[in-house]
């Protein structure tokens, strides 16, 4: 996942939103819980105060009497965490048995008023004060402040427990959601990866169009891309046809000029120049034409049976070279297929066999083999063409593969046959290798690797 990629952007923003949401939710829940816990505690303290009030009595001597049995027994255990106090006019009038050594500040309150305080100093205490006016038996009103304090530790512990539970759940679900999100992201971006792979396949000429199926949102993109590809292909086709038409239509005027150049009406030097220049033009036209045709037909997925093509070429060449009575033997398995464009296969085999027919004395051997390659669906194709002619001298072997060089200056021909074969074979990532044929003459090995 690189920076700036779609999945990075989507993943990052979703993660930020998720974390912010979970954080806010956590804080809100925590606050609400705090509030609720405080409320609950206040109510509890209030209940204790009512309980105190219910058991409270002042005897005629002004002494407080508390019926301890009716109270929560924590009031009587020292250090239990629950303490009760009664103040009269700022002076402590009574304290519970548990409140031994516990001091709380006095807060003056009117009758019926109450106030919750938190005492910071150790031990932290939550204190609820409640003001009442106590009427004695004689009808004397006595203003009192009752206070119940509870150790804050239990509340804090409760809150801390809750907080821990809350955050671990939130964290857990956060991680779960993040993972889910990554998976969803991968799943929903999968069509994009598919379309990218399909485009790569098109580029490598393994496919002709985006076949899908793609989700609806990408469907239109794929359709448009297909239209673009199609028009691009049509454009290329038109361009190639135009080029071919141009080259072909140049050939007839060239033939006319060549004919004129060979007539004796021109002076010798002019004739020489004319024929040289015409020859050059002719080579250029031929070469570019063949190259254009070759490049256009690069890559096909339709398998072509190799032997029938070789047989057709052989019978054509037999016809042309009938007097020579060449014995051309063709060996190979009948079901050998290759993934070249048919025209390219004709061009490669035709040029090589044509040379063999021109140069052989009597015999030509052609062998078609396949060598399976590990990890590839189709085997590599090998075509070997051997003749019993004079062969190609060492010094010329590299030259003949270059454009426009003709080793056989004496024989008429365009002299670009081997160069075209070489070009075509290279275009298909193959090799063209010369070797000494067992028949004594030239041997050419063409290797065409399978696609993929």
């Amino acid at each position: 996942m690189t920076r700036g990629s779609l999945s990075f952007r989507l993943g990052l923003s979703a993660a930020i939103i998720l974390l912010a949401f979970l954080g806010l939710a956590g804080v809100t829940v925590e606050k609400a819980f705090d509030e609720a816990a405080r409320k609950a505690m206040e109510e509890r303290l209030q209940a204790h105060i009512y309980a105190l009030l219910a058991t409270f009595e002042i005897d005629p001597y002004g002494q407080v009497r508390m019926n301890d049995q009716r109270l929560d027994n924590r009031f009587s255990i020292p250090g239990s965490g629950l303490y009760g106090f009664v103040f009269m006019q700022g002076q402590p009038l009574w304290r519970s048995g548990s409140a031994l050594g516990v001091q709380i500040p006095y807060v003056a309150l009117g009758s019926g008023r109450r106030r919750l305080l938190f005492r910071q100093q150790e031990p932290g205490l939550w204190i609820l004060y409640y003001g009442v006016v106590w009427e004695t038996e004689r009808g004397h009103p006595i203003p009192l402040v009752l206070a119940v304090a509870e150790d804050a530790a239990s509340l804090s512990r409760q809150i801390a427990d809750f907080r821990q539970t809350l955050w671990s759940w939130l964290g857990g679900s956060g991680i779960f959601l993040l993972i889910t999100q990554v998976l969803i992201l991968r799943w929903s971006l999968k069509p994009l990866r598919t379309i990218a792979a399909d485009l790569e396949a098109i580029e490598a000429s393994k496919k002709r169009r985006l076949a899908g199926p793609y989700p609806k949102e990408l469907g239109r993109l794929a359709t448009n891309l297909n239209i673009l590809l199609e028009s691009e292909r049509a454009h290329l086709e038109r361009y190639r046809n135009t080029l071919a038409d141009l080259a072909h239509s140049l050939k007839t005027p060239l033939a006319v000029l060549t004919g004129m150049g060979q007539s004796t009406q021109l002076p010798e030097p002019a004739q020489q120049t004319l024929s040289e220049q015409l020859e050059r033009m002719q080579h250029l036209v031929d070469y570019q034409l063949k190259k254009a045709a070759a490049q256009g037909s690069h890559g096909t997925l339709t398998p072509i049976a190799v032997l029938p093509v070789l047989e057709r070429i052989r019978s054509s060449l037999d016809k042309i070279h009938r007097e020579k009575a060449v014995v051309c033997r063709l060996a190979g398995k009948g079901d050998t297929h290759c993934f070249l464009d048919e025209g390219d296969l004709y061009e490669i085999a035709g040029n090589l066999l044509d040379n063999a027919y021109k140069w052989c004395r009597r015999r030509i051997n052609v062998r078609v083999d396949v060598h399976p390659q590990a990890g590839r669906r189709h085997p590599d194709l090998y075509i070997r063409i051997e003749d019993d002619g004079p062969g190609i001298p060492e010094s010329l072997r590299r030259e003949v593969l270059k454009r426009g060089i003709r080793a056989d200056q004496s024989t008429h021909g365009h002299g670009i046959g081997l160069a075209v074969v070489n070009e075509l074979v290279t275009l298909h990532r193959g090799r063209l290798v010369y070797y000494q044929s067992p028949l004594g003459g030239a041997g050419w090995e063409v290797c065409i690797p399978s696609p993929e």
């Binding site: 239509s249 057709r312 042309i320 004709y346 040029n351 008429h412």
Partner: protein
């Protein structure tokens, strides 16, 4: 020899006509396949040169139709299309050879000669019949290894006879193969040529290479060397 040229490019057609006329051929030129088919069916042709890209229908179809009509004369395709697949298709349609434009006239000449010889069952460019040898490529004749000077028409008559040894060839067949359709056909001229040939090839009157069969025609009587 009578050649048919089917080529829609008039300039090239004219050039070819001039070339073959200069070589002593009778030349018929057609600009369309239909016209070509007419010539092929109506005239006794020895060889045809056919362009593939013709205005009415393709040269391949023309060749196919000619073969269907039983015309077995040698056909050379002369075309700008140079892909091997096209060559194979052309040859499979019934053509005997294939030459790509632009071409050298020497090459066209060599190939046409080879086709004519092949049609006559002679593979070698030099025909040897006893003391007479005729080189179809160089268009020269030798008698006992001495060159014999012949005019173009004398040569053509001799070549035709020697390509069909032992066969009776009527005057009309000879004229048809040697003259254009618009040429004045005068059998007396032919007799003059035959007379001159006899003098040049058989000055002593011992060889009798050309027999006259009254009312039937002529026959080349020297056997071909093995």
């Amino acid at each position: 020899m009578r050649v048919l040229i089917v080529e829609d490019e008039t300039q090239l057609g004219g050039q070819l006509r001039d070339f073959f006329t200069a070589k002593g051929f009778a030349v018929d030129t057609a600009g369309t396949a239909k016209e070509g088919l007419y010539f092929a069916t109506e005239y006794p042709l020895d060889v045809a040169i056919i362009d593939l890209g013709l205005p009415d229908f393709s040269g391949l179809e023309l060749i196919g139709q000619m073969r269907e009509k039983g015309r077995d004369l040698p056909i050379l395709i002369l075309t700008a299309r140079d892909r091997w697949q096209e060559k194979v298709e052309g040859l499979e349609a019934g053509a005997d050879d294939y030459l790509v434009k632009p071409f050298h006239y020497e090459e066209l000449w060599a190939r046409i000669n080879a086709l004519i010889r092949r049609a006559a069952g002679k593979a070698h460019p030099v025909l040897r019949h006893g003391p007479v040898s005729l080189d179809t490529t160089a268009q020269t004749v030798r008698l006992h290894d001495n060159p014999v000077e012949l005019t173009a028409f004398e040569y053509k008559v001799l070549e035709y006879l020697m390509l069909h040894p032992g066969k009776v060839i009527s005057k009309s067949e000879l004229t048809e193969h040697l003259y254009d359709q618009d040429f004045e056909r005068d059998s007396n001229v032919l007799e003059v040529f035959i007379g001159r040939l006899r003098k040049k090839l058989d000055p002593e009157g011992t060889l009798h290479p050309i027999e006259t069969l009254r009312g039937r025609g002529y026959r080349w009587s020297l056997p071909q060397d093995p």
